[in-house]
Subunit: 359 residues, 2 copies
């Protein structure tokens, strides 16, 4: 396997859209979300077999999750886990990873992946990831995987493809954040639009170069610390300087501005598992179209519910339709699936009027 | 206080109508059902202060609940707890208590109470109970407390009063089991009908005499064991012979047949707390008419629910109206209050198709 290939896994999210099943001290990526016996993070790492050497996997996570990551991924060496002292969205996080890896290996090529997404077609993903790395050999590009859409999803960002470069690889014409339903239908039928997966490929040199140009506030911090990267002083430097980076996404800071951005159009069975609704759609259903996670459901005139509990709980539902029932030892949510966008407000209200201990 | 006055508390119920909040190993009477810090059993015993001497309180319970009773009522001596080896409804249970107490004190007068009912007006109850005992001095009667109805309840039995004997005491004209809604309305407006509370007063001699006449199968068993009552051999005798008694209620076996049955009409704020609906009605409600037990409720467009949890749980409800939400560590019920009569079927189905461990 090519020792120049690296994977950065972003693992710092707090997963409030799945409250109370996902908690501040046990966010979504650490949970066996699909009942497979492996957490989403573990599934993400498992998928990298045959793509990058195991020692070239780097986890970026919050210092709060250091033990969780080490526990779930015992095969990692401590130096493969980078601990963010503060949450600053994806641009600072990818900057640190790029400068760090560039110091390890100036010829490094990096795949960036989220720790809490689902990819159903792992073999197809592996092939396309290797294609993507190969594409970088002849193109000084910032590459993003675009997912062939199968429905007019309004919760995702879309990428419009421009000139075809080679096979599945095209220039990017536009980025469009979450469209309304009508626009999403137009996107779907046009055939030109792909979901923005947040899976990126770039060389360490390319992304560093792009950040110096488009995100100099962040690049300056990392350039100041470049001598300390991969030394015992790195963490102290990051702890002191990372929090001063602007809180900004890599899409907004770099991808929407750079002129060497390309998209690879793939069909890998991807979902960001961003909502209870998406988990419901992806999960096997019983005869009453109910989905259970960790529980046994007795359904009386109850259909279309997603029920997630901790422990082997018996859940009796009567005359409940299309609800989320999410249960943990100290919190219980009962809410229509159609209202799950209110969950963010619920979490905010709990923080303000109840107690942080429930988050 | 009159040492001839006794109280028998029937404490063997399994409380399946409150599943899963009430469980086989922790039935309703042992739970702090109203959030007062005292279980219904403890509240029942507390209410007897000033009526019968503490050492004259006798608890009839299942052998399975021996430790629970002793734990909740540490003031009791072991000989105040009688352990039924099998569940045989209220006639055998009251027979044993009567023969046992008669052996202790041939002049005993007995009040019979349920361990899982609620009486809001405890002072009024105490006065009327003392009146009832006094009534027995001049009347060889089997007396039942009749509760002045305040609504056309279809879940209770009704007693029609006959000739007035003295003050609140009358002969009983008829017993009517759960009437339909129309009949219940007629009963309510007639002024002649009272709820059958299951609180009885009789002398040990009177009930023994009545049982010999109307329930000879049970009386024979107890007569055979009368020499052993209150001796170390009593429990062995009961273990061997009690299970052969017919499974029958005291109302059906004796009260509906005897000709010396009287009713004392009272207004003591009584409820049998027989259903989630009755608990809902009796409980204080928040601004959204929700009732919470052991939990904090965040209600979004959610009204009229009763939510009971174990532990201090945060429960977020959205668009849920008039439901029961009953949660324990291994079982969760979500069911409209209007359907709670289905709970018995649910419990039966759990027994058949799931596991006894959930009951």
């Amino acid at each position: 396997m090519d020792n120049n290939l690296y994977c950065v896994i972003m693992c710092g999210g707090v997963g409030s859209r799945f409250w109370p099943y996902s908690r501040t001290n046990m966010p979504k990526q650490f949970i066996d979300f699909l009942g497979t016996g492996r957490s989403l993070l573990q599934m993400t790492v498992d998928r990298l077999q045959g793509i990058v050497p195991p020692q070239n996997v780097i986890i970026l996570t919050s210092v709060a999750y250091k033990e969780l990551v080490a526990e779930q991924l015992p095969q990692l060496q401590p130096e493969q886990i980078l601990l963010e002292p503060a949450r600053r969205n994806t641009a600072p996080c990818n900057a640190w990873a790029a400068w760090h890896i560039h110091k390890l290996n100036p010829n490094a090529k990096i795949m960036v992946a989220s720790s809490d997404h689902l990819i159903v077609r792992a073999d197809e993903f592996r092939q396309r990831a290797l294609d993507a790395f190969a594409f970088l050999d002849s193109n000084h590009a910032l590459l993003t995987m675009g997912i062939k859409p199968n429905r007019p999803e309004t919760g995702y960002g879309y990428i419009q493809t421009g000139d075809c470069m080679r096979g599945a690889f095209s220039r990017v014409k536009t980025f469009t954040e979450k469209p309304d339903a009508e626009l999403a239908r137009v996107f779907l039928t046009s055939g030109e639009f792909y979901w923005n997966s947040g899976i990126f490929f770039w060389s360490a040199a390319s992304i560093i170069s792009a950040m110096r140009r488009f995100a100099p506030e962040i690049a300056d911090v990392m350039d100041n610390g470049s001598d300390l990267m991969c030394t015992p002083a790195e963490q102290d430097f990051i702890n002191a300087n990372y929090p001063s980076c602007p809180n900004i996404s890599i899409d907004y800071a770099v991808m929407e501005k750079a002129d060497n951005v390309c998209v690879q159009c793939v069909d890998i069975g991807w979902s960001d598992l961003g909502t209870w609704g998406s988990l419901y759609e992806l999960s096997p259903k019983d005869a009453h179209r109910n989905v259970g996670r960790n529980c046994r459901i007795m359904a009386l005139e109850s259909e279309g519910n997603i029920v997630a509990t901790t422990g082997e709980k018996l859940v009796v539902l009567s005359n409940l339709r299309d609800f989320i029932v999410a249960d943990t030892p100290d919190a219980l949510l009962i809410m229509p699936l159609a209202e799950e966008q209110r969950l963010r407000n619920v979490v905010n209200e709990i923080r303000s009027n109840y107690s942080e201990k429930y988050l």
